[in-house]
Amino acid sequence: MTAPVMDALDALESEAIHIFREVAGEFDRPVILFSGGKDSTLLVHLAVKAFAPAPVPFPLLHVDTGHNYAEVIEFRDRIVAEKGLRLEVAHVQDWIDDGRLTERPDGTRNPLQTVPLLDSIVEKRYDAVFGGGRRDEERARAKERIMSLRDGFGRWDPRSQRPELWNLYNGRHAPGEHVRVFPISNWTELDVWRYIQREGIELPSIYFSHRREVFRRDGMWLAEGPWGGPRGAEALEERTVRYRTVGDGSCTGAVESTATTLDEIIAEVTASRLTERGATRADDRMSEAAMEDRKREGYF
């Protein structure tokens, strides 16, 4: 008798679980980056499955820009409590308050996350940092390894990456270095949504269509908030929208959508002619190599 054939989602799930267990076996102080967005929520779900019935042997870390949607923070705290997880929060505001960071003139705090992240890694001596990055998101990410070494400055050097062979992951690192781990590297946006549906994974409400006061900037619908806006001729208007990604409010735009269920979201993502980043991430539009440049500096 042969085993039943695994479908694509089974194969991706098994691969991610394998990666979680490798890290648990090889590293002393791993941490999962958790923002309450769909990718990191998926990551936490997979971590729970990898170690069941025992608890997840890693804490979570959220680098909180202070510009998050209230619904997402509520969701983050509820999931942590429900699943019995440990959450550390690095508040970008703390770094601004004591002068280690300076607010940018454009008000966006997304690029400011790198310093609190790297400081937290050093302070807590994290040696493996899980992220929900996927290679389908962006061309520079397509070159990212599943286990990716970062030097003492958190830098990524795309030209001297270790080759990744078979499913043998090499996590060796010197003191001060750490490894970024991307268990869902091989998932696409549609895989994520189909898996969320299959597993019944709960998400923050802003992923589903709702009425919200938004204003138009650079072709995106932004919500009002402490990041500045609406400014000048920008006018608030109520629209039916949802979010495809969740991040810093200054640069994460909503899309017009009537999708209120996972079925409708999957249909919408399937039919969409825009990538999720192209549709909703202003910071990736800064230059042709915006993501590559930020990753070189230690960004996820």
Binding site: A8, A11, A50, R162, P163, L165, W166, N167
Partner: protein
């Protein structure tokens, strides 16, 4: 229910690999409007009149600046029947290293040749590496057929030439499919070409969609490297977590725990969603056993009636991936399954000349991209299979202790047998 095919591309620098990959993505509608706009903008900037599809995949600054592909990249697309993970390997620098990396996880490789040049040295090298790595299936994509006016006789000659090479490398005839394509124009990639009425085989995508994906490991004896011991005190749970590397496991199976050699029986095959009646290769599970045995990360659970051999002396083939040369006597680390142990390199044996596709004399040192046989002695006994029998049980990494860098891809035994 969609399944997943992992495949790799290989080919020389100017064979049009990036264009072929761009074409696959573009014609399967896996490229979205904002990505196409970006490519159109960049193509106009370069003074081109039509979009350069290779810009879809060359993602790093240096790649766009130099017009070359530097490193293995992974691409994703899907059709109504199947999902695809494509390891897109550059043909340019460090060809062996990148081809080995891409081929190690591939269930199929697409090898490109330029129809104007046919089988060249680089084709022979790539085919030799794909054969060494035991990629189960091969597609020879003869590209740029528009530039030879769709000349059937020329294409038949290339196909015949390659078939001879593939046979000498040990590929079965039915494992190799030849498809004439033009990535630039789109002939036979996703859409069937009107220019090749004499060709009655599948399009490239049609073949990728229909080729069976059952991994060769599925029919092999059961192996499971123990990655992690899961203990939950409240329910007194103790299970051994890992990914089934080969074969299948089910409750009641007799297994042996290696290297220790204890025999026991599988009590249950658990997942977070409940126990399974059977788990096959690739499935991550947690196995509970009927006996209380001391088992740790690095041990291997194996079919009791067909276990791997346990040894500290390995004959292996190395693909050397590092700028740092290898000399006999080197002390390194070896990672096999979930175990890392120390290893001393013994004598260097025959080197594979990938141009001539023949084994030649033993070298003094191994340099980057060299492939050679070698003997190794490990500090701990390892349960190993020959790579030719079970890819997962016969593969390992060599790691540099001071830097932690991966130095070599290792294959137990001599997986490439060259026929006259």
């Amino acid at each position: 229910m969609k399944d997943l095919l992992r495949f790799a591309t290989a080919g020389s620098v100017d064979d049009g690999k990036s264009t072929l990959v761009g074409r696959l993505l573009y014609d399967t509608k896996s490229v979205l409007a904002d990505q196409i706009e970006a490519v159109q903008r960049a193509s106009v900037d370069k003074g081109l009149s039509t979009p350069d599809l290779s810009l879809l995949v060359d993602g790093l600054r240096a790649e766009r600046e130099q017009g070359i592909t530097i490193d293995v990249a992974y691409r994703y697309f899907s059709t109504p029947t199947r999902e695809f993970v494509l390891a897109d390997t550059p043909g340019h620098v460090q060809y062996t290293r990148n081809t080995v990396t891409g081929a190690s996880t591939a269930e199929l490789a697409v090898l490109l040749v330029d129809a104007r040049h046919g089988v060249v040295e680089q084709t022979r090298r790539h085919a030799a590496v794909l054969a060494l790595l035991h990629v189960p299936r091969l597609v020879l994509a003869i590209n740029k057929i528009d530039l030879i006016d769709y000349d059937e006789a020329a294409l038949t000659a290339i196909a015949k030439d390659f078939a001879g090479l593939a046979r000498s490398l040990g590929f079965a005839d039915d494992a190799v499919v030849t498809i004439p394509v033009s990535a630039l124009v789109g002939d036979n990639v996703v859409e069937r070409s009107a220019h090749t009425p004499w060709y009655d085989g599948p399009t490239l995508l049609g073949h990728l969609e229909s080729v069976p994906v059952t991994p060769p490991e599925a029919g092999a004896p059961f192996r499971l490297p123990v990655q992690y011991v899961i203990r939950e005190h409240a329910s007194d749970y103790r299970g051994y977590a890992g990914q089934v590397a080969s074969g299948t496991v089910r409750p009641g199976d007799e297994v042996v725990v290696l290297p220790g050699g204890h025999r026991t029986t599988v009590a249950s095959v658990d997942t977070a969603d409940g126990p399974l009646a059977t788990a096959g290769a690739g499935r991550s599970v947690t196995v509970r056993l009927t006996d209380d045995i001391d088992i740790a990360r690095g041990d291997v659970l194996a079919a009791a009636d067909a276990p791997p051999r346990v040894t500290t002396e390995l004959d292996a083939t190395l693909c050397w991936l590092s700028d740092k040369p290898l000399r006999a006597g080197a002390r390194l680390l070896l990672k096999h399954g979930a175990r890392t142990t120390q290893v001393i390199v013994g004598a260097l044996g025959d080197r594979l000349d990938t141009d001539a596709v023949a084994y030649v004399d033993a070298p003094e040192t191994l340099a980057i991209n060299d492939i050679a046989r070698v003997s190794l002695r490990t500090a701990d006994p390892l349960p190993v299979d020959d790579y030719a029998d079970i890819r997962t049980g016969g593969s390992f990494l060599l790691i540099d202790p001071p830097t932690g860098n991966t130095l070599a891809a290792g294959l137990v035994g001599s997986p490439l047998t060259l026929a006259g």
